[in-house]
Amino acid sequence: MNKMHFKVGLFAAASLLLTGAFLVYLLHARGFFERTYHLQLAAASADGVAPGVPVVFSGIQIGSVTSLGLNDRGGIIIRAEFLERNAKWLKENSTFTLDKPIVGGAKIRVESPDLDAPALPDNSTMLLLSSDISKEIPVLVERVKAILANVEHLTRKDGEIHGTLANVQTLTGRMTGEYGMLEGLLGSPEKARAVTDSLDKTRALITKLDAMTAKTDQWLYAQDGVAQQVRLMLNDAQASLKKADELMANVVEISADVKEGTQDVAALRAEIDDAVRKANALVNEINKKWPFARDPEVKLP
């Protein structure tokens, strides 16, 4: 056996085998053994689209554009090809968007929100939407320019912000003085002192008022205070009214016996009635003004 021939033969066989296997792999990878799906995309503009532009689903390429053309009515038709194994991601409710990033090539993005939807049939036509960031840039730049101009206007040498900042500086400078914030707000230590003084006086006044209210309370509601006396007086009035009532009843009885001279009695009756009504009104009035009258127990604070 020729050793050299054996080695060369082994080398050739291994190389051929490897190359052949790689070619089969490459053919498989390029979809030679698979059906291809075709898709037509109708677009308003084919700007940036060229044969070979990838069609991506979730960031992974599943197909590519094969050709561009115009239809009979001048619309743009983009034809794309997919391998059978990738075509399953295309659904009837899929959306196709043309993405043109600032860096990198254009690509067609497929979004299939519902993967249970029926599959897109071969050779169907879909609409291609466009999301062009570069078109929005000039608008954005204009806006930013306007904002910058405003900012510049605000921050100019004699501008409002400048003045405000100067004022803030004076204010904070005052705030570091003896009377702090108060001095900052009022402008000078003298005014701040006046305010603190009046505050002190107010406090003293409130203390006095406190004491006075306590005394008034006692005067009004104590065991033999004014309120108690008024209540007693009212009770007396009520009692005398009751007596008047009894008297009245007696008078009516007498009047029934005495047939004559009723006119005088009637006049008397009217007068007494009037007096009773007035007394009642007085009682009611006092009741309104002194709600404690209902509840004779006076609670001391």
């Binding site: 050299m4 021939h5 080695k7 060369v8 080398f11 050739a12 190389s15 490897l18 190359t19 790689f22 792999y25 490459l26 990878a29 390029r30 979809g31 992974i60 390429q61």
Partner: protein, 264 residues
Amino acid sequence: MNFLAASIESLGAKIVGWFTVAYGMFAFLARAGLLLLDPTTWNRATFDVVIKQVYFTAVQILHIFLAYAVVISWLIISIILSTARDFGLSEFASEMTIRTLVLELLPFLTALFIALRSGSAINTEVALMKVNNELDALAHCKVPPMQFEFLPRLVGGVISVITLSALAGLLALLVGYLAIYGVNTAGFEPYTRTIAKILDFQILAGLVVKCVLFGLAVTLIPVTAGLETPKKLFMVPVSVLRGMMRVFLAIVAIEVVSLALKYI
């Protein structure tokens, strides 16, 4: 005036010299091609010489060459990967790896490797045969040197460059996969897609044509340079020197033209 005339004359002589060399080379190539098509050429003896040539050019250095290919692939892939990550372009790393290594760098380095090792040897051998009148002797004994010495070398060189480039390329693909995705099958799908995207029919055909041209350059140029040697022993090193310079220029020219065709 005299100086100008002399410089123009020397320029003309140089151009004529280049044309003579180029013509000699292409005439030789044409004769070799015709002989290749001639069915009587392909007998047992010619096959044996081709096999011997393939053995010396490719099989003998296979382990060294593959080790070298793995090391250089690993280095370049690491550089590409880290740079791509730094710039946030990792998604393009595998594509860049395949393009630079498999399509350009490895065939180029294979051609240089074979030119250094076999091309120089062929050049020296042919030059010595020429100086020692062995070629005439062979022709006299009805052993045409074209059929038994030169054509097998050309064929062997072409086969060797193609197979070694292919093996190195496959190895680089494997090394690239391991470097990018590690030892698991998770990256198989995207890697396959990238390979499928890059290696279309045109690119593969271009790669094969480039390898054939490289193979011819590293064998044809040394043979013709050896045949040009004047019959003086001290001219042998000069012949080898010239031959190797031409080989180098030819390899670079082929690479540049292939790149220009591919990307311009």
